[in-house]
Structures are given as C-alpha cells and as structure tokens.
C-alpha cells in the first residue's frame, strides 16, 4: 500500500495506537466523577483518523472518484463473476479502503456504546456494516464482519430484542464456518489495518485473535439461547465455548474447571451421564493446572498464599461434590428403573435389562461420545483415564452399584476435607446427607436383609450425633431434614427386622427388644419433627404451611403405625399404644375434614387412616373387655 510509507500515514497509525491505549488501559484509571475521560479522548482521536482517511483518499484517488466508492463499473464485473451480488472484492483496493474506514467506524461504535450513547453507537456500527456489506468476505475483512455482528448482538440483546441479536450472531457464526471451509488462512486482525509496515501480527497472533472473536460469538449465542429458553441449544453452546477455550488456550484453569463441573450438573439433570462424566473428568484434570496447593505453613507466612490455598481447596472440593451428585443420581436412576411397585428390586426386570444391555451395540454410544469430546492434546489422555474409573451406564446389580458407590464415597471423603464441620456447617451436613443417600440407594441393591440393615445403621451413625448438636435456632430447616431422615431410616430398619423375624418360627426376647427399640427411635424422631412445627407457646398450627403439609401428615401417620406395631405382652401397654395410634389416625382424618384441600397430598395415608379409625375402636374394646375380665 502506497499510503503506508507517508508521514501522514504514520501519524494516523500512531493516533490509532494511542486511541486503543486510552480506551483499554488508561480508562481504568479514570476518576469516579469523570469515568469516561479517556474514552472521550480516544473518541476524538478516532474522529481525527476518520478525517485523515478521507483526506488521504481524496489526495490519492481523487481523480478517479468512481473507483473509490464501491459503486464503480467494477460492480457489474464482480457481480457477474461470483454471482453473489457483492459489489466489489474484499481484497481489491476499493474493498480495502472500505474496510479501513469500517474499522474506524467499528471502534467509534464500540466507544459510543461504552460511554452509554447507545443510539450513536448503533449508528456507527451500522455505518461499518454498510461500508463492508457490498464487499465479498475475504481474509482481509472476515474478522471485521464477525466482530461488528458480535457488537450488534450485544447491543440488541441489551434492548431486549433477543431475536434481532440472535440474527446478527447467527450470521457471524455461519460466516466463520463458511470462511474456514473455503479459505481457512489466518485472517487479518482489525488492528492490523493501522500498523506500520513490518509491525503486523505473527501468524499465531492472527489465529488467536480471530478464533477468540468466534469463541465470543458462541458465548453470546449461549446466552441468547438461554434467554430464548432453548436450553438444550444453550447447553450445546456452553459446551462449545468451553471446548474452544481449551483448544485455543484461552482460559483460567480454575474458572474453566468450575464451569465444566457446573455443566456436568446440567447433563446430570438431563440424565445424560456420559456427557456429565466427561465434563467432570475434564474439570478434575484442568483444575490441577491451576497449580500446586500451597502448604499450610506457606499459607501462614503470606496472605496471597493463604488466599490461593483457600481457593484451590474450595474449588476442588466443589468439583468433588459435583462428582458425588453424579454417582448418587446414577444409582438413583438405576433404582427407579429396577424397582417394583413396593420399592423392592424386581428380579425379572433386572434379567430383562441385563439381556437388553448385552444385545445393545455400543456403536451408538461411540457416535455420541465423539460429539462431546473435551481436551487438547496434552490433557486428552488424563481425562480419558479418569473417565475409566467410573461407569456411566446405569448399574443393574449389587456389584455394579457398589463400584459406583465406592467412587462416590471417595469423593465424599475428599469434599469433607475442605468442608469441615468447623466453619462450614451447612456444606458439611449437605455432604453427609449425600453420603447417607448413597448408602440408602446401595441398600436397595443388597439382597441380604441383615447386611442391608447394617447399611442403614451406618446412616444413623453419621446423622444422629449432628442432629443432637445442631442448633435449631439457626438451622431449623436442616434439623427438620435430619429428624425426618433419621425417623425414616429407623422405620426402614424396623421393617427389615420384621421381615427377618417373620422367617423365624418364634422371635426371641432379644429380637423383640431390638424391634421395639427401632420402633421407638423412629417415633422419637418423627415426634421431634412434629414438635419443631409448634409455635413458641407449644401450639400446633391450625393450618400447616404448604411445604410442611405432607411431611407433617406422613409423620403423624407413621407415628400411628409405629404405635400399633410395638410388641408387648401386657394388655395395659397394648391398650395404651393403640389409644395413641387411634389418636394420631384421628388427627389426620380430622385435619383433612377441616382442610379438604389437604386430601390430595395424602390420599393413600388418608384412606388407610379412615379405615383404622373405624377398625381400631373394636380392637381397643376387645382388649378393654379382656382387661376387665381379668
């Protein structure tokens, strides 16, 4: 370019450099009461550049004005040549001149938007579009095409016109894809229009900048689709954004890892375990790139080391918690698939699913897998080897379930290391609740009733001490959850003991004692839960809150059943237990009479309660008459 040599041109390049410097770096130091000082200075410079450009153009091309615009005879030629309806080739002198003006318009547009003058900003961006729209897309201007559409996308989304934003961004996306298919050479960056000869970017830098603007397109599209509630697509675009960050090494390891771990939770809720596992493996591997965790000693020495240690430990523990949820949901989904109508393992169904699995080709899986792969050449192997440590297919028997359980349990240990009870009460208890849930679902796969009972005992052992110590004044919700879970666990153990005893001819005294102990423990926790609902004066609410309605009535129902299940030789004790049971059944029936809208929440329980309310008095009367006759 002839212009490149002149002094005048060098001055333009210098102004441009200064404008960028002002806008990107100086502006951060602007005072609170004059926040856009540097941006305004940059704007002045850009306007001066615009004048100079027009002047240079006049001087150099003034005589043949026709050529300068994009509406010369060339138009016809170009149009017939490529049939795209473009007025001139992007790499022709006219196309380059247009692009150069367009770049300045682009920066002016961004500048106005940053200084909250949106309409003026839009005007400049549209000027930019107009200048280059008549030109074919080439290595010289493709970057500009994409960047200006990214900006317009942001602008229109800000005005709540999402469809308009979507239009611009989708064009940017397809433009990138088309360019990569047809040309693919590292394109010119916007800033390169204004550098002196010999100061162009390296090939690598050109690629970096170009790929980054496309990554941004995808990042904006992810948000646009989210706003349009196209969640599936939004998820895909989040995934591509993450993948490209990795591929082009544009990422902060810890931030990337947390985003990938979060994405895994999206896949978990969609029951796409293979994708979820992949995200988690990648998250774990990339998190290690954030560096070594400073030792405790080093953390004591300096504050930055201390902060770094805290952050690394916390994020890793967070990723471990995402893994726990992965294992837990995988197991729970398998349970749902395998259980019969009373919640026990359905053996026929199990056989059937195993057969199905054998017949299934894993081709389908492989095809899906190649579509979601994460990783660059250096991390790919580590990610894959981490993946192999846990299955992503639903377990069908105890052995398979156990291996997933064990992985989950390892992550529980890891997560608890950072989220210790001292300092992180809520998080710590949430992890314990997950651990308990892991045991609960594993027990489903266990056929031996005694061993199953032992698994539930483990749950009791981990939750009971906390339930006792936790201050309900600050942790009411968690207390209620723990009380309810403990009550249910004891209830389940009672059921198992009953099943074991049924197989014996005559249960011994020890078994009966054990059974009664489980019954009363369960009742105790249901009662604690019910008491937590009472007012400060000890009064039970006349109307239960929505969230508490079902749990409270179920607790009452269980308490009733437990009372009637207690084993006793003494008639007077039997009578007392049945009286208590009747009282609780009555409560449910009466509550539903007074609040008919509660009926639907506890249909089965209500039906059984009504039955018991009519039957129990007979039984009670029989015992009474036997007592009297004695």
């Amino acid at each position: 370019m002839a212009a490149n040599q002149s002094t005048e041109w060098r001055a333009v390049c210098e102004k441009f450099r200064l404008a960028l410097e002002l806008s990107e770096n100086e502006s951060k130091k602007d005072p609170e009461n004059n926040p856009f000082r540097s941006k305004y200075k940059a704007r002045d410079l850009l306007n001066e550049i615009l004048c100079s450009l027009k002047k240079i153009e006049l001087e150099e091309y003034g005589e043949c004005e026709n050529e300068a615009g994009c509406h010369s005879e060339q138009t016809v030629e170009a149009e017939t040549e490529n049939g795209l309806g473009k007025a001139c080739a992007g790499d022709s002198p006219a196309g380059l001149r247009a692009a150069r003006l367009a770049v300045v318009q682009y920066y002016l547009g961004v500048n106005h938007i940053e200084t909250e003058e949106l309409s003026a900003g839009e005007q400049h961006l549209m000027n930019c579009m107009k200048l280059i729209d008549d030109c074919t897309t080439t290595r010289e201007n493709v970057s500009l095409f994409i960047n200006v559409r990214n900006q317009l996308g942001i602008l229109w989304a800000g005005r709540d016109e999402i469809e308009k934003a979507q239009g611009y961004l989708e064009i940017a996306e397809s433009m990138y894809l088309l360019y990569m298919r047809e040309d693919g050479q590292p394109p010119l960056d916007l800033q390169e229009f204004f550098v002196a000869e010999g100061e162009e970017f390296s090939t690598q830098e050109k690629i970096r900048r170009f790929e980054m603007s496309y990554t941004h397109t995808l990042y904006y599209l992810a948000q646009v689709y989210k706003n349009l509630e196209e969640f599936e697509r939004a998820g895909q675009y989040c995934h591509s954004t993450l993948q490209r960050q990795l591929e082009y090494k544009h990422f902060v390891p810890l931030e990337w890892a947390i985003n990938a771990a979060t994405l895994s939770q999206y896949y978990v809720t969609k029951t796409r375990y293979m994708e979820a596992r992949h995200c988690l493996s990648a998250a774990s591997v990339i998190a290690t790139l954030a560096g070594e965790i400073p030792s405790e000693a080093a953390a004591k020495e300096s504050e930055p080391e201390c902060e770094k240690r805290e952050e690394l430990l916390q994020k890793r523990a967070d990723i471990a918690r995402c893994w726990i949820k992965y294992c837990l949901n995988l197991l729970q989904d398998a349970k749902k698939l395998l259980e019969d109508n009373i919640g026990e393992l359905d053996l026929d169904r199990q056989d059937e699913l195993k057969r199905e699995r054998r017949n299934e080709e894993d081709e389908k899986e492989k095809g899906r897998k190649s579509a979601i792969i994460f990783g660059s050449s250096d991390t790919y192997d580590s990610i894959c080897s981490l993946e192999e440590k846990v299955s992503s297919i639903l377990p069908l028997d105890f052995e398979e379930a156990r291996s997933i359980f064990l992985v989950g349990q390892d992550y529980v240990a890891q997560a608890k290391e950072y989220f210790a009870m001292d300092g992180h009460v809520t998080d710590h208890i949430e992890i314990l609740q997950d651990h308990s849930a892991l045991f609960k679902v594993l027990a489903f796969f266990e056929q031996d009733l005694e061993r199953r009972c032992k698994m539930h005992k483990r749950r009791v052992d981990m939750l009971e001490p906390i339930c006792k110590d936790l201050n309900a004044q600050y942790y009411l919700l968690i207390c209620r959850q723990l009380q309810f879970e403990l009550a249910e666990t004891y209830y389940e153990m009672m059921d198992l003991k009953l099943a074991v005893a049924d197989k014996l001819d005559q249960p011994d005294v020890h078994t009966i004692k054990k059974f009664n102990h489980l019954c009363s423990s369960s009742m105790k926790y249901y009662q604690m839960f019910l008491d937590s609902i009472r007012s400060p004066e000890g009064k039970f609410p006349e109307k239960l809150e929505d969230e508490l309605l079902r749990p409270a009535l179920v607790a009452k129902f269980r308490v009733a059943r437990l009372h009637s299940k207690l084993i006793s030789n003494q008639l007077s004790a039997q009578l007392e237990n049945l009286d208590h049971a009747l009282e609780s059944y009555n409560f449910i029936v009466q509550y539903c009479e007074e609040h008919p809208d509660a009926k639907s929440a506890v249909e089965t329980e209500l039906e059984l309660s009504m039955e018991m309310v009519s039957l129990l008095p007979l039984k009670i009367n029989r015992i009474k008459s036997r007592l009297n006759s004695n």
Partner: protein, 363 residues
C-alpha cells in the same frame, strides 16, 4: 396476636413514603408532582400508565407518619421476641435519598439520642434495655442479661469491621451452635441504651471515614449492626442460658443493586482484561433445572450478605423489611422497582423442604 406460628415467621413489609424534598441539594428537590397515593394503611397506589397499580403490604405509612409510629409497628414486636430468645432482623431498603438513614437513625447521627426525630435503631436500644431492666427486676435477681454489639460493612463482597478501622477483610464462618458469624469481628459490651448507641455512632463514623479515605462508596455498601443478647436464668440447680440476635441492616441504595445483578436479557460480555468468560458459569447455572427431583451441586456461592442473613431471609427468625420510597414523579422508576422488590420479599418464606421421598409406597 400471632397465635399461628407459620404466619409469625413470614417476612413482613412496611412501606414508608417520605415527604417531598425542598432545598436539600438532592436531585428530587422541587419535584412537586406525586407518582403515588397512600390509599389505606395497607395499600399504596402507583400512578402507572395506562392504569394505576395497587400494591398491598403489611403496613403503608404516608408522609406524616412519625418515628414513634414506625418503631411501634416495625420494631417493637421484634425486640420483644428477641427477649424471648428468637432472632430478629430489620432491613431498610430503598433508593438513595428516600429516607433510609432517617428512618433507621434519625436526622443527624450524633445528637439525636433524645430527639423526637430519632429513628428505629435508637428506639430499639431504649426499648430493649427497658425490657431487660424490667425482667431483671421482676425476676428478683435470678435472671441476668449480657448484650454484645458488632458492626460490619459488606462492600464488593468483602467484609470490613466498622468497630476496628485498621482490620483487613474478614471471613464468614459457621458453627454448629452459633450459626453464621464473622470470624474475628470485634464485639463490644453494652450495658445500657446509651452505650449501645455509642458503639453504633463509632461504627457509623468509621464507615464515613472509610468511604472517603479508602474509596468505598457508602451507598454501595451494606452495613449490618448486630446485637447478641444472652440471658441467664438461675433456678434450683439449673442454669438456663438463651441467646438471640437482633440484626439491623442498612442495605445499599436500590439503584445500585440494579446494576450488579443486571436483570433480564442483557448479555454478559467477555471482559477484555483477561479474556475471561466469567459469566458462562452463571449461564449454565440457570440451565440446570431442579424440577425433576434430581440432586445437583452448584459451585457458585451465595453473596456474603445473603449468606450472613440466611437465617433471616426465609429462616427461623422474625424479619421486617422497611421499604423507603420517595413520592416525587421523577422517582417513578425507582419507586416502582422498590415496591416490586418489597412484594417479592413477601414471598420469601422458610423453604422447609423435607426430603420426604417415600410417597406412594406405604408399608
């Protein structure tokens, strides 16, 4: 009156309309046309176009409501339940210039202790110590009380101790017995309302110093004054100890809150500093749906304020929000958003979800 517990725990909202401003240097000066009318002690009508909108709250106070009335409806009950061992929180919310500080403290901070215009905070102190003294007297010396105060500021997700102006930022921690607390925050004992008020004024002064010398903008920060009340009752052979907390919160100006969680469809841009696509995680977060009963973990933490006051926001505490609004027509937008916030706040309740998952298989 609140015989029903469930009702007593819901968050209550008090809306207060300040008088029009004249010669105060505020931008709302000489704005004499009104954008709202108080239509009853529970309702307020906002002159929206094309149709006016009516909002309903627990209490709406118009321009000539006095400080004593505000205190009686908002704080009296909460202070009383604190005496009985329950936690309580009072928030002040609203646009800068809508009268938050006036409502909470009074006209100027220092000499208002005996002033008719003193705000909710000094009146709460007086009432609390009045109740304490009465209890101590009535119990004949078997009951004693200990009152500790701390005062923190949350600015930019960092916690500063307003009672220790040289401290660096502090951490939030949780304890199985005492809940969430700020580790290392200074606690000052107060034996009378005057002493409590002294602690408050000292912190308030530090807040102003910090805002000028350390570039912290006070309209962008939240200030939380916490009184921990410990009561000890000695009976035959047993000592009964109860603690409760009273949190008095001055929230950042509502107009500033808006830009922090830029609502709606606005796209988060890639920051040019380190090319970080920070908000991607927040996008993904909103994709993760909870409705299908799956358990998931989200790696993003609560904001410091909501974490600290988690108990008050839908927890096990008595909570009142005072929403301050300016009636001038220039403030229409801000007033609408404050009224909407206050309406949403009413919906926050104890999310008492109990993992009750055996529905359907009664055995």
């Amino acid at each position: 009156e609140s015989s029903c517990n469930s009702d007593g725990d819901a968050i209550k909202v008090f809306v207060r309309v300040r008088p029009l401003t004249q010669n105060t240097g505020l931008t709302t000066d000489c704005d004499n046309s009104l954008c709202l009318t108080v239509t009853s002690p529970q309702t307020i009508r906002l002159h929206c176009k094309p149709e006016p909108r009516t909002f309903i709250y627990d209490h709406v106070a118009d321009m000539d409501t006095n400080q004593e009335e505000v205190f009686s409806s908002v704080a009296k009950n909460i202070v009383e339940s604190c005496m009985n061992g329950y936690n309580g929180t009072i928030f002040a919310y609203g646009q800068t210039g809508s009268g938050k500080t006036f409502t909470m403290l009074g006209p100027s901070e220092l000499d208002t202790f005996s002033d008719e215009l003193r705000g909710v905070i000094p009146r709460s102190f007086e009432y609390l110590f009045f109740l304490i003294n009465r209890e101590v007297e009535q119990s004949g010396g078997t009951k004693s009380f200990l009152c500790k105060c701390s005062f923190i500021e949350i600015y930019n997700e960092q916690i500063y101790d307003l009672l220790d102006s040289v401290s660096s930022s502090l951490f939030l921690r949780e304890d199985i017995k005492r809940g969430v607390f700020v580790e290392g925050a200074v606690e000052k004992y107060a034996a009378s309302a005057a002493e409590a008020y002294q602690v408050l004024s000292m912190g308030w002064r530090n807040r102003r110093v910090a805002s000028t010398s350390m570039n912290r903008e006070s309209s962008r920060s939240h200030a939380v004054f916490t009184m921990t009340l410990e009561s000890k009752e000695t009976g035959q052979d047993v000592v009964n100890i109860r603690t409760s907390q009273l949190n008095l919160v001055d929230l950042a100006g509502s107009e500033r809150q808006k830009d922090t969680h830029a609502e709606g469809s606005r796209l988060k841009e890639a920051s040019s500093i380190n090319r970080s696509l920070m908000c991607l995680g927040h996008v993904i977060m909103t994709l993760v749906d909870v409705s299908n009963g799956k358990h998931r973990h989200i790696c993003y933490r609560d904001s410091k304020l909501t974490f600290f006051l988690r108990d008050s926001l839908g927890g096990n505490a008595k909570t009142y929000i005072i929403a301050n609004v300016h009636p001038g027509s220039k403030c229409f937008g801000e007033t609408l958003s404050t009224l909407q916030f206050a309406q949403r706040a009413k919906l926050i309740k104890n999310k008492a979800m109990v993992n009750e998952d055996t529905q359907g298989n009664v055995r």
